[in-house]
Structure formats: C-alpha cells, structure tokens
C-alpha cells in the first residue's frame, strides 16, 4: 500500500460512485437517499473484520480493482491463461464457460431472461436485476430493502448499502411452486464500481423454490473485495432453498452477508459450497425462525493454500416448535485455516437446535477451530452440538489402496465421500464438477 487513504478520501470516492449509480440506473430519489444515509453511517460505523484492517478497507474503496485483469472480455481467449487452463481442466461445459466469462449477457447486472422464465413470470415468478426491481416494484423493494440489516452495523454494511449494484430480486407469488431450480450466475463485472450485489428474496405463503447462485467455475472478478448482501423473507409455509456455489480467485476477500426471516411452518435450506473461498471469506448469516419453522445452514468448505475461512451463523428460534440445524464439513489443506462458530438461541418453548462440525485435515499446517454456541432462554429446548476434527484414517486409506488405487486416488475418494452426504440437494450437473474440483484440489492441481 503506497499512499495513505483517509476516511475523507474514501467518502469522496463513495460519493462519486453514488452519483454514477443514480445516473446510470435512472434511480428513483428514495433509493439514492438510502445511499447517502449509508454514506453518513459509513463514517461512524465500527469496523471489526478479522482480516481486513480499516486502512486496507479504505484502500480497497479508493482503488477497488486488482491489477492485471483484462478490462474487456469478449471471448474466452481474453481470459488470463491460468484461468482458461483451469476451465479446460475442469471440463466445464462451453455454455457455462461463456456465462462465466460474461459473454452471454450485455450488462453488468443482467439476468438471463429466457423464454422459459417469461412463461413463469405470468404465473407469478419475478426474477429481475435488483436495479430494475427498484424502478418497477418500488413499494415491494422499499418494504424489503435493508430491513434485516442496520446500515450502521459496520463499515461493510454501510459501504455495501451506499454502493450496492447488481444482484437479483426474486419474488414468488403466493401458492406458486417453482418446480425447477433457478440458476443465477454472478457475472464478470466490467465496470469499475465496487462489487456489492444486493439480493432480495420474497417467498410468499405456500410457495416453493430453489435458487442456485454462482457456479463451479472460477469467477473472474476485477476487485479485491466482494460484498454481497442477501435478504430473504419466507411467508407462512413457504419452502425455499438457496444454494450458493463459490469459486473465487485467490486475490479476493469475500464478505457475504445473508439474513432471513422464516415464517410459521416455513422451511429454508441454505447451502454454501465454498470450492474456492478466496483469500479470506468470513460470513455470519442470521436467521429468525417463527413457530414450527425450520432453517438449515449447510457449509461445505474447501480450505486451500493460505486461505482464511470463517463461517458463523446465528439462529434465533423465536416461535414455539421452531428448529434449526447448522452443519458444516470442511476439508482443509496446505496452510489454510477454517473456523466455524454457529450460535443457536432458543427463545420459545419446544424449540430444537443442533450444530455439527466435521473437518478433515489434509496437511500438518492446516488448521480448524470450532466454537459452537448454544443459548437457551426456555426450559424445554433441545440444543446439542457435535464436532469431529481429524485426519484421514490410515485403515481406510490402506483398504482402498489395497484394491489397487494410488494414494492420490484413494485420498480423493475419501475426501469426496466425506463431503458426499452434504451434497444431497445439489443438482447432478454441478455435482460432477464439484467432485472434479475436489479431486483437483486434493491432488494439488488447483
């Protein structure tokens, strides 16, 4: 870091971006006002990130782009050589490769809106870039934008709110069951703006959906910091699944912020598959669960190189009979550190919570820490946790090898097997690639 950047410098940069966004998005005034309030909050909000110092954050804000990443990507040939080679090795479908490279859409914030989706739109499924939703459904957005976060919770929430751009607005009308997974890629951003997509999910009562965000291929981003925010609202008896696939390049710090309100009898399964977690990845999703509601946070984490991954998760079981599961499985290699710290708070009678953490350490320098938190404010809650951190068992490895598999192949099988039970809800086309990525990672080929 060459020059020092002051808070005032950073604020000036943010202000410029707000102006540019307001202009580019032809944004209604109320949204721009929210941005300006966030800008003020940015100054006084606390900063408490385990990896990124305040000085570094200001630097990222003033100079968000990483050097050496091509500005325009028009064909796969424009990709950096290593990325192209990795895509080839993964054998990822050309179509997905194109999506990944942002070739299939025109804008930074584009949603691939095919005919299929248009049919479903008539039935009450809305999938829009968040900017467009702000213009077309102002009332709905006002009602659900930044309702689960406080703008001044931290410098990161304030910064995100001030400069958010991109992201998805998903609205499922009452009673609609979407029978196919909706798949949304994060595309390459061509603009120099901060990477801060804002995702809003509104699942009205008696709905069903499965949203898959991201892809298995490495994502090419031009920024050092990725700050997405997701707010999800589940009406009574709504059942939703959000699967997030992440494969970040190693220079990115990612700070996904996810929160959800889960209504009566509603169910939310939130799975995050961190194949490439980036230089550092910390997340502390929060969930509020009403009567007989259910939430499940599944974390699949592949810690590699010197990456730092910190997955929290706070669940507030607020209605009688509400339940929550926070389960993670981590495979940790090289000199990577993975920390999990779920907290489940039982606030109502007959609530149930369980935290489990399994880790497989593949090297002597890999590190795992787990801090389960169980808080009960009632006397008949059932709260439990379990953790198992270990290495590959010699007996298993020997058994597989004695059937003719090399140590590498046997290790790959064991690692895939370790993660397998958690991958149960992931569609086949991703599974194949996820397994391939795990194999490559285990054999040191990533």
């Amino acid at each position: 870091m060459s020059e020092t950047i002051t808070l005032a410098d950073a604020k000036a940069v943010i202000e410029n971006q707000i102006e540019e966004l307001a202009r580019r998005n032809k944004e209604p005034e109320w949204m721009t006002k929210i941005r300006y309030r966030a800008l003020e909050a940015f100054e006084r909000a606390p900063h408490n990130d385990p990896v990124i110092s305040e000085e570094q954050l200001l630097h990222f804000i003033a100079k968000p782009e990483v050097e050496g990443i091509p500005e325009h990507i028009e064909s796969l040939e424009d990709l950096p050589a290593e990325l192209k080679a990795l895509l080839d090795r993964l054998g990822i479908e050309e179509v997905e490769q194109k999506y990944v490279a942002g070739l299939a859409v025109q804008t930074d914030t584009g949603v691939i809106y095919n005919q299929f989706l248009q049919e479903w739109a008539k039935k009450g499924l809305t999938v829009l870039p968040t900017e467009e939703a702000v213009r077309r459904y102002p009332d709905l957005v006002k009602e659900h934008f930044l309702r689960l976060f406080r703008v001044d919770e931290s410098k990161l929430t304030a910064y995100h709110t001030a400069v958010w751009n991109g992201g998805i607005f998903l609205h499922v009308k009452e009673g609609l069951k979407v029978p196919f997974p909706l798949h949304l890629f994060f595309l390459i951003q061509e603009s120099a703006l901060a990477q801060a997509p804002h995702i809003i999910i509104i699942a009205e009562p008696n709905t069903e959906f499965h949203l898959i965000e991201g892809c298995t291929a490495p994502i090419l981003v031009r920024h050092s910091l990725h700050l997405d925010m997701t707010e999800a609202y589940f009406g009574e008896n709504a059942k939703g699944q959000l699967t997030v696939l992440q494969n970040w390049p190693e220079y990115v710090h990612t700070r996904p912020m996810t929160r959800a309100k889960i209504g009566k009898n509603a169910r939310f399964i939130n799975t995050t598959v961190g194949l490439g977690t980036g230089k550092s990845n910390t997340a502390n999703p929060k969930y509020w669960v009403d009567e007989n509601g259910y939430v499940e946070l599944n974390g699949i984490l592949l810690g590699q190189k010197d990456w730092y991954v910190d997955l929290g998760g706070e669940m507030y079981l607020q209605g009688p009979g509400a339940s929550g599961i926070n389960a993670s499985k981590a495979v940790i290699m090289d000199e990577s550190t993975v920390i999990t710290r779920g907290i489940i708070t039982a606030e109502a009678p007959r609530t149930k919570g369980h935290i489990s953490c399994d880790a497989l350490l593949l090297s002597d320098k890999s590190r795992m820490e787990t801090y389960p938190g169980l808080v009960s404010k009632v006397d008949d809650a059932e709260l439990s946790h379990e953790a198992a951190i270990g290495k590959i068992r010699e007996e298993e490895l020997f058994y597989l090898m004695s059937r003719g598999l090399s140590e590498e192949k046997a290790t790959q099988l064991i690692v895939k097997g370790f993660l397998e039970p958690m991958l149960k809800d992931i569609p086949m086309e991703f599974l194949v690639e996820i397994r391939k990525i795990i194999e490559l990672a285990v054999s040191g080929g990533m």
Binding site: M401, S402, K409, I414
Partner: protein
Amino acid sequence: MLKVENLHVSVDDKEILRGVDLSVGQGEFHVVMGPNGSGKSTLALTLAGHPRYKVTKGTLLFDGESILNLGPDERARKGILLAFQVPPEVEGVKIIEFLQQVLVELKGIDPAEAYDAIVKKAGELWFKEDDLHRYVNVGFSGGERKRLELLQALLIEPKLLILDEPDSGVDVDSLSIISRKIEELNRAGTAVLLITHYGRILEHLDPGTFRVHVMKDGRIVMERGGEFVNEIEERGFQAIFEECGCDE
C-alpha cells in the same frame, strides 16, 4: 509365486513375526491356522503392504521379484488381494463407484462394462443392486462385510488371494456360498492363502489338494496335509504343540 523367507515384522517397535517361512505356488491352496494372537493377520497385512507393519528382516518375493518396497496399490496391481478380517467402513463412498473405479484402473475396462459385471457378480453373492449404492461397509453386518470382500475377489480375480477369516461370524448359508466361490476362483487359477479357525469352510475340498500351516508366536511351526485340519479341531493347539515340542 509367493516366497516368504525368514520374515520378521514389527509394529510400533514391537516384533510380532519372528521368522516366517512360506511358499505358495501358482494356483495352489494353502491354509494357515493358529491360536489367537499368533500373527496370522499380521502376516496377511504385511503381504498386502500395510504401512504400519515394518519388515525388519527377511525376504518377500512375488513372481521372483522382491515386493518389499512396493506400496499396497502396487502389490494389488501385481495380483495380490487381501480379503480383510475386519474391513473398515468408508463413509460416503458408494460400493458401486468404488468398485467401478477399481475395475477401470486394474483391468482397464470401461465404467459401463464394469457396472454390469459388478451387478452380475453381486447377485451371485446375494447383493441386490440397491445394496451397491450403500457406502462401503458402512452399517454392514459382519457376515455382509465378508461377502463384500469376496465380491471384490470375484471381480478382481487376483493371482494370489489372501483370505483372513472369511468364515468368522458368517451364517451357515453364507458360509456355503463363500466356500464355493473360493473354490471357483481357485479352480480358475487363483492361488489361495486362507486363514481360518474352523474346518467347515474346507468341507467340500479334497484334503489332498491343500496344505495346512500352523502358526505360533510369530512363526510357522508345522506344515501338514489337508487332513490335519480335523486333528487341530479335535485336539486343539495346546495338545498338538506339546506333542511336537514346539513350545520353547
């Protein structure tokens, strides 16, 4: 084919095998018996290349070449297969996927062909196709595990099959299918080294067709014809050892 000479083996610096001699020729059938703790499994695991069992002395030849420096996978590729006394559970790894991969790698056949072969042989050992989608040994009963070990042997068709107590904990019907399958493999040319405590698994065999080796305190102290199994069963090791002067 297999030649073991003066084999000394230690685990965690504790010497367990103390000079084992044993030869198994192509297609032959050999039985190893001996009291609990005499070192039978240690011998089997050492032959298969378990990394914790360290050979401190002696030679181990397979097809005329030393295999002492070969890993378990390389030994398997040379044609040695061990059916474990206690096969471990491998969580999350489906039997079918595991066996497909093994056959693809060992035999170079394609996965679809491997799949068909596995399902067919599995049926012969009373496994249903559903069973094959379970994880390797996870939740399997003792007897089921033994059948699964044998299934692997049938598919891999090794040159030398080492069976460590394929009959213990196995019900009567399973025992009969297991013993028939072992004989089938042997007739097709696989040499067998079978570790057991009971003669029952050998019932259908002509005693003139196999040899019996008796192990005691990390050594093979006697070698006899097949009929010796009955004598061991009738009299027990104590009496036999006293008579032969094998007790030091």
